[in-house]
Symmetry: C2
């Protein structure tokens, strides 16, 4: 049996995270290419459930799925110069097959702007082709020079959901940015993840973009975790790829573009944020198993097992993801421990008493509270219980983030955590802040999950009067 | 408006197919890497629906989804020698990034045996780890030397669903082969595709395998289309990757393995087989739009439009994939033509008469039969209508396949079609058959959708008395 060493995730996050990924069957990091990992069925199921939520939100707002090839001819990739500079160095290159060298090198997509906009040039003609809203779910490849971490920073991102849009006016593009932010807020909220939204400083903006917003949360070691980016591309790619439409005034005009993406890192964040000393903790919406049924029976008590099977049937018929643990090698106590480690949010215990009285005992993973209810109330009670668990997880996650967010003049400054500082928006002051706090300015805070003290309370390290908050951190 | 030249798919399949893919918004072949294509949302939606059917069948039979990396170190790829020989030449190679050369070359997966079994070596320990049944849905890459054709033969296969299994005994592996065949039969049957199942001859077997079965149908030009393969890998990979388990008798034993895969080619087959002179024809189960609502109204007849909206709502609430065409630029006749071209299996016409009487007129795409029913019977009538359409499409497809399957002594031998011949199973006779008919032996027919005449009726071109049927053809 996998025994989780009772590590505190705050004092030793890397070890805790490593153990959890292995013992809960999320991924296997023993694949012989650095930064590339194998997803095991249990972990992948959780990821698929999370992706399903985002895809539903994208489809409901009129984004359509498309698929663009993995390999990009170097000549197409090089069309936008800043982009080439930003991504070129970390791009994997195919020069041929085992027996043949190609005339032109093919780059393995690190992100799909160039491959997509090459085709949009053929598709966008008139105003009625706009807005164009597409997404795809693909694997992308980046030869990261930063240290790799399973799921959080990998060289093959296997579940990148990237959306791209084109619009007739800057105003429409800005509306689209708002829609994208709203989609991501709903998505991260559904995963019970608290986040800052920051606008990145110009010198740290996505290659080829006007500006971008990042959603940032904190890992238990205080490092920042970027959950998603929303990018206003302006007209730079439109000009590089000649994306023009015939407007109603008879003029050909360049489109305005946005893009936004989320990867499997979001599941890494779910694991890091919601886990605890008893292991993984999946919010019910993404739990591959929402309820595990553990029957407590001795040899010959077939009626208990039959009743447990009936309970399983009731749950499955209601669309609940349930599992019946009939393993006879291990004790019920062992099973409780095992399924808690795997993050199953609720357990149903069935013994002699439950079988005789046609009841079930529901146990919450978060506080181990028990409740015995008649079988016919099981599904409704579970749904209420999940709401309570969600509320609890959400508030616990926010407490964690508060603990990991340092307001320098209010608490002792430690190495560990994101830092909020007063900022005037200049590069000079950003550099000063970075020097003082030993962390990078991630951007201007445009939305905070935590109430921040008034700017006037902060120490002013800028030349001008600060008019905004900066978020500083070291990111994965 | 895309105007489909009224090409007969049997007399000029390449042109018909090319026009259909473009005009019905399935894929765009103008991507600047040969053999790599872009999937447009309408085509991709149909593919996702088809994939969903197969994934459901795989999950119901206990296959679990996993994900293994795209890049395979050359040393791992080379472990099974026949496999290396079979796939090595057409494998894309990554030697580094734009700025760095790697120590070891990485191969881009042409299929996932090696990457997967490398990990299985770490996972399979005892009898209770077996059977292991996994699948993944991935993009795979093969530098095909055969001529490429959109969807049917490409260099990036973007939707390969490959299943892999490991078993304690050969008998269990053979049972698994039966299950796989049954899954594929259900899958292709649901797409209304008729097929031969052939057992490939030893000299044409999947690299590293014992034997394999192929599902084969015919394109309208008479070429064979392989829909899927089911492969008994025996113990060759198990030996190459040292996949052993501790059996109950205390001995370590090699596992027996199978694998089976289907790609997006199946959607190419759906398009090729079911399309006709009016364009695409999607079976209702994979139609991105199952019903298009075309209101027939003049300016000011807002009540007709309102009624059409109500009909749309009724359909959506019943889970029907419906679209309301409110475009005012085009006539209803134009719209009928357009949506037929896009393969929508049923249309609902709504005019003054329907609006006044609270009815709808349903039109079938296959025979243009009309039926007017009260609104409250719409959904039920549609479901009946789809069953009728399915029956019709299925029998039409079988007629097509009959027409494209030549029994030499019964009909004049043309260039066009698959050929059935009597065979003794020897390589000598296979070569003779290939010489006489100018086609390749695809294998021994183990299941035929068409009743075949007794072997004794066939001309005997073998030395021995033929005891089986061979299927010959030229494949995509």
């Amino acid at each position: 049996m996998p025994v989780l060493s009772k590590i505190d995730k705050f004092s030793n996050f890397p070890e805790w995270y490593h153990d959890i990924l292995r013992d809960a069957d999320i991924v296997d990091i023993r694949y012989p290419v650095k930064g590339m990992i194998v997803w095991r069925p249990y972990g992948l199921k959780a990821l698929r459930l999370a992706q399903g939520i985002l895809i539903r939100l994208l489809e409901e707002t009129g984004h359509q799925e498309a698929y663009f090839p993995t390999f990009i001819p170097e000549s197409v990739f090089s069309k936008e110069k800043d982009f080439l500079e930003g991504f070129g160095g970390e791009t994997f290159v195919v020069e041929g097959t085992m027996s043949k060298k190609f005339n032109e090198r093919l780059l393995v997509r690190p992100t799909s702007e160039t491959v997509m906009y090459y085709m949009w040039n053929l598709w966008i003609k008139g105003r009625k082709d706009l807005p164009l809203k597409m997404y795809q779910m693909v694997n992308v490849f980046r030869y990261e020079t930063k240290m790799t971490h399973p799921i959080l920073r990998v060289r093959e991102i296997m579940g990148f959901i990237e959306a791209h849009t084109a619009h007739a006016t800057m105003q429409e593009a800005e509306e689209q940015i708002k829609e994208a932010i709203s989609i991501y807020k709903q998505f991260f909220d559904s995963l019970l993840l608290p986040y800052f939204i920051v606008k990145t400083p110009p010198w740290d903006t996505f290659a080829g973009a006007e500006y971008n917003y990042d959603f940032v949360t904190a890992a238990p070691d205080g490092k920042g975790l970027e959950l998603g980016s929303v990018i206003n591309l302006g007209q730079r790619f439109a000009k590089a790829f000649d994306l023009r439409f015939l407007d109603s005034d008879g003029q050909y005009k360049f489109v305005y573009q946005t893009c936004y993406g989320v990867s499997e890192r979001v599941l890494g964040a779910v694991i890091a944020v919601h886990g605890d000393e008893r292991g993984l903790f999946f919010p019910p919406v993404v739990a591959p198993i929402q309820v595990v049924i553990v029957p407590i029976f001795r040899e010959g008590e077939e009626d208990v097992v039959d009743y447990a099977r009936k309970v399983l049937k009731v749950l499955k018929e209601s669309g609940v993801r349930a599992h019946l643990d009939l393993d006879t090698e291990h004790s019920p106590g062992w099973k409780y421990y095992y399924w808690e480690l795997k993050g199953v949010p609720t357990r149903v215990e069935i013994g002699r008493r439950e079988t005789s009285s046609n009841t079930v005992t529901i146990v919450r993973r978060d506080n181990l509270e028990k409740k015995t209810v008649p079988l016919e109330k099981l599904v409704d009670t579970l749904k209420e219980t999940w709401l309570q668990i969600e509320t609890h997880l959400k508030s616990r996650a926010l407490d964690y983030l508060k603990k990991l967010t340092i307001i320098p003049h209010r608490q002792p400054q430690t190495e560990k955590g994101l830092i909020v500082a007063a900022w005037d928006g200049t590069k000079a002051c950003a550099e000063r802040l970075e020097q003082v706090y030993g962390k990078n300015v991630l951007g201007e805070i445009v939305e905070s999950p935590i109430e921040l003290p008034p700017l006037s309370e902060f120490e002013n390290l800028c030349e001008k009067q600060p008019d905004r908050y900066a978020l500083l951190g070291v990111t994965y």
